[in-house]
């Protein structure tokens, strides 16, 4: 199903990636649970767009539901600018990232602002051809509106089969509600 959507959105600024829910690298799955809150039963797959601004779980009218999530996200303006330079060094990658805050709030630990680097391989492991091999994150501290901060992140993906099929996603997100509630993506970039 997700592969079909990936084909549909091939010309759009959208990427579909998939994690092992039992051993997800990084802390992205925590965004899903933050959006879910508590209570009620949850079924796989757990789906998230814009860091939890929209979520879904379990059996739904997949194409219709997922398409509406993506279409809604595409209508929203970004709240940050990301410039990403990626370099492979042996079996790892080095990312040089410039993040400009285009929102009207200061990004800091007070709103759990973070920068995530996710590396995935075009490999058919789960239900998509884009399986996450590694993910990590950095906290963003006191980045005022219109200000730019630079980050250097190194990450070593595990289990890569074909390095020519390795890609990456950088996501800047924060928690609009401060200490609670769903996270939201400021901007993302694809390499």
């Amino acid at each position: 199903m997700v592969d079909q959507l990936a084909e549909e959105y091939a010309g759009d600024p959208v990427v579909f990636i998939e994690y092992d829910v039992d051993n997800p690298p990084g802390n992205r799955v925590g965004r899903w649970w933050a959006a879910w809150g508590s209570g009620g039963s949850v079924y796989l797959p757990l789906i998230m767009v814009d860091s939890g601004n929209q979520i879904s779980n379990g059996s739904v009218a997949f194409a219709q539901r997922y398409r509406s999530m993506v279409d809604a996200a595409l209508q929203r303006p970004a709240s940050a600018r990301l410039e990403v330079d990626r370099e492979r060094v042996g079996n790892s990658y080095r990312f040089d990232i410039a993040l400009t805050n285009l929102s009207d709030v200061t990004l800091s630990s007070a709103n759990s602002a973070s920068l995530h680097v996710i590396v995935y391989e075009e490999a058919h492991v789960g239900d998509t051809d884009r399986w996450v091999r590694a993910a990590t994150f950095r906290s963003i501290s006191n980045l005022e509106p219109e200000a730019t901060a630079s980050f250097t992140v190194e990450i070593a993906p595990q289990g890569v089969v074909d390095w020519d099929k390795v890609h990456s996603v950088v996501i800047a997100d924060y928690r609009p509600g401060g200490a609670s509630g769903a996270y939201d993506t400021l901007q993302a970039a694809h390499e």
């Binding site: 959208v14 757990l46 814009d50 789960g126």
Partner: protein
């Protein structure tokens, strides 16, 4: 509910919700003007989108509250267009100036107009668009009329149409091209009134203005209007129609969003 009643009810509902298409031609005339000019307006209307249409044309007479305007109704077959030559006279038997309001009762319409000075050697015309009422100028924003001149060679008339049923106050600031404010002209319009101010620069200066502009704004809450200028060559009677343009800074470019769709599941 019987089907016929449902259809009637739906038609009444649509009408009550104001979905009828409404277009304004801000200026039309069957009159004489300055420097021996003789003005006439031809109106062209086409049924829109391959469907039949019927529509009403109302004459909003100049310097009059037009709460009960003269009107004429026409029908068009699908694909048909209709030219109403010298429409102010032939449709309304009126001598003078005003604006035209076109309301589609069935289907949709497209319209254009030409207002021209006629003399023994032919005509000099200006295209005047039929503008959707939804795009009328709004309270709280500045609108500019560009490429204006006032001299022995040219005169600038400015015109306004109040598209609301309430009185409307306007302020017209007149500038030189180097942004020197020459003066302001206040205008108050009655409900649905059209008014044209001839040779407007002569109200604020006795000097020629080779290149100037006007900024128009309304101080009336919920005020909506159309504004235009007509710059006329005093020698030939040739005129150009200049619609008002919103005069605001460009919105900053929106940073496009890259969307990440993340799925958490068990492999296999």
């Amino acid at each position: 509910m019987p089907k016929v009643l449902r259809v009637v009810w739906l038609a009444l509902l649509v009408a009550s919700l104001g979905f009828a298409q409404e277009l304004y031609v801000p200026a039309a005339a069957h009159t004489s003007g300055a420097a021996g000019t003789v003005w006439r307006t031809d109106l062209e209307v086409k049924a829109r989108g391959g469907e039949a249409a019927s529509f009403t044309v109302e004459l909003l007479e100049e310097r009059t509250a037009n709460t009960d305007p003269l009107s004429a109704t026409f029908s068009l077959e699908a694909g048909e267009s209709l030219r109403l030559v010298d429409v102010v006279d032939t449709a309304f038997g009126f001598y003078g100036s005003g604006a035209l309001r076109l309301t589609a009762a069935d289907g949709g319409i497209l319209a254009t107009s030409r207002t021209y000075n006629t003399n023994p050697n032919g005509t000099f015309g200006q295209y005047i668009p039929a503008i959707d009422a939804e795009t009328a100028a709004e309270h709280g924003r500045d609108y500019v009329l560009l490429q204006l001149s006032s001299s022995e060679s040219y005169r600038t008339n400015v015109g306004f149409v109040n598209v609301t049923g309430e009185s409307l106050a306007l302020e017209v600031d007149l500038f030189t091209s180097s942004a020197v404010l020459l003066g302001s002209v206040p205008v108050t319009l009655r409900p649905y009134e059209m008014r044209q101010i001839p040779a407007v620069f002569t109200q604020v200066t006795s000097e020629p203005v080779d290149d100037g502009y006007a900024v128009v704004r309304s101080s009336t809450e919920d005020g909506r209007f159309f504004a235009y200028a007509s710059v006329v060559d005093n020698l030939s009677g040739d005129a150009i129609f200049i619609p008002a343009q919103l005069d605001e800074p460009l919105a900053p470019p929106v940073e496009p969003r890259f969307v990440v769709f993340e799925a958490f599941m068990r492999p296999g």
